[in-house]
């Protein structure tokens, strides 16, 4: 698949979603324009969770076949997922300040989002500490699978506390449509970035293999030709 071909339609879709969020969605009565954050926030929260599931599934596939191509999917999804989890916390915090007059409160869903973000951060830290690609893939996969098992238990544990996060608020049909458009377009952007980043990681891997296969004297010879005379 040529990712570049998809750039224009995905960019158009995201631009349409942002315009719809700003211009088409009706202004909410009590919160005003601050409520528009929700359209981005929900999309980011959804993608953070999807990203985590992709990391876990790709990790399991790596452990099954020991093919590094699966690990490239896992790393790409983890990087994008971390970004989405960070944006979920940031947009949620902005919304909470407008709605509840506080930047942060220990509501169950906020706690779940924070745990997801911390799990992503730990996963990326572990990967960053390892040089050998297979070792990095193997330990990363173990951590991701443990995380995937943990997420339902975290959700269950935190929901049993009383929460103040809106669960399924009644929405105007136009608002609902804009929300779906936002989720759909940002999912498209996520998939596109995932494909681009995965291809980049694969090329990095191929380059590293090539360097390992090149005899040392050839590499030195190549470096010498690059030096200014």
């Amino acid at each position: 698949m040529h990712s570049r071909l998809w750039c224009i339609p995905v960019a158009a879709l995201v631009a349409a979603a942002i315009l719809a969020v700003c211009l088409v969605a009706p202004t909410e009565e009590t919160m005003g324009d601050a409520q528009r954050i929700v359209y981005i926030h929900v999309a980011m929260a959804w993608l953070a969770l999807v990203g985590f599931l992709i990391v876990g599934a790709a990790g399991a596939m790596y452990l099954r076949g020991r093919n590094l191509l699966w690990d490239h999917w896992a790393q790409a999804a983890a990087e994008l997922g971390w970004l989405c989890a960070s944006l979920t916390l940031a947009t949620g915090s902005l919304w909470a300040h407008a709605a509840w007059n506080t930047w942060w409160t220990w509501d169950p869903r906020l706690l779940t989002s924070f745990i997801l973000w911390a799990a992503y951060s730990g996963y990326l830290l572990v990967r960053g500490s390892l040089d050998d690609p297979h070792r990095r893939a193997r330990l990363g996969a173990v951590l991701a699978i443990v995380g995937v098992f943990d997420v339902p238990l975290v959700i269950m544990a935190t929901r049993w506390f009383r929460g103040m996060h809106p669960t399924s608020p009644g929405m105007d049909p136009t608002m609902r449509l804009v929300l779906w458009l936002s989720v759909f377009s940002f999912t498209g952007l996520f998939v596109l970035l995932l494909a681009i980043r995965r291809r980049q990681l694969r090329q990095e891997g191929l380059l590293a293999d090539l360097e390992r296969q090149t005899p040392l004297e050839d590499r030195y010879a190549k470096e010498r030709t690059c030096l200014p005379s």
Partner: protein
């Protein structure tokens, strides 16, 4: 010749063999700790200092103390327990015993179960000190229903030790991994800390209701899921 009966005896012997090896691995860890006293004193001291600091900070009414003591107790248990869980693998690697342990004629899963059992015993040792200390310092009825406290402690210990043992084993193989392990374990162990804290709080109320039982079920589910996951995944952790 009765091959079926011979097969049954063979299986029985194998089970006995694995159980004996499991016991010897646990015995090795407990005996070396008993002789050298390298981790447990520091772990117990950390637990006591945390408990004292909580008691100093808490200028609360008896009702408020009863509400918060469960969370403080389980956080103290977790942080002190992480010391023991970290060292259980780092010490093996530092002293060159790791390769020897892996070449022992048992599967890595048995090594995992032995380490898990020792770590759960370490957590129980902290609880034997911290629970009476919290009762004395904060004057809360933690031991009002000893069997309920015991059930929560056992389930919580197995849950924390299951995930802590797996991830400490993982972190021990990484450069500066000891600094990473608390960071890795803490977010994942939150359901246990929350569940155990809530079950401890509900265990002090006048009647044990369905909510207490629900939290115990969550703790039990966590312990089963992560003991199984640890047994399956530990093979991959110790591969090199």
């Amino acid at each position: 010749m009765d091959y079926g009966a011979r097969g049954a005896v063979g299986r029985h012997d194998k089970e006995r063999y694995v159980t004996a090896k499991l016991w010897w691995m646990m015995h090795k860890d407990l005996a070396s700790e008993w002789r050298a006293r390298r981790v447990w004193p520091a772990m117990l001291l950390l637990g006591i200092v945390v408990a004292l600091m909580f008691a100093v900070q808490m200028g609360l009414s008896p009702e408020q103390k009863q509400e918060t003591v469960g969370s403080l107790l389980w956080l103290a248990i977790f942080f002190a327990g992480m010391l023991a869980m970290d060292r259980s693998f780092v010490a093996e690697r530092e002293e060159g015993c790791w390769e020897g342990l892996l070449s022992y004629p048992v599967s890595p899963t048995a090594v995992y179960f032995a380490k898990l059992a020792v770590n759960a015993i370490a957590l129980a040792a902290i609880q034997c000190v911290l629970i009476p200390l919290f009762v004395a310092l904060s004057d809360v009825p933690l031991l009002e229903r000893p069997w309920a406290m015991l059930a929560v402690a056992v389930l919580g210990n197995v849950g924390i030790a299951a995930i802590g043992t797996l991830l400490s084993g993982l972190a021990a193989g990484i450069r500066h991994g000891a600094n990473l392990s608390v960071l890795l374990v803490l977010p994942l162990v939150i359901p246990v800390v929350l569940g155990a804290a809530e079950a401890t709080r509900l265990g002090m109320e006048e009647t044990l209701d369905a909510a207490w039982w629900r939290w115990c079920q969550l703790l039990g589910a966590f312990a089963v899921v992560f003991t199984t996951a640890g047994a399956v995944l530990f093979d991959f952790v110790v591969e090199d």
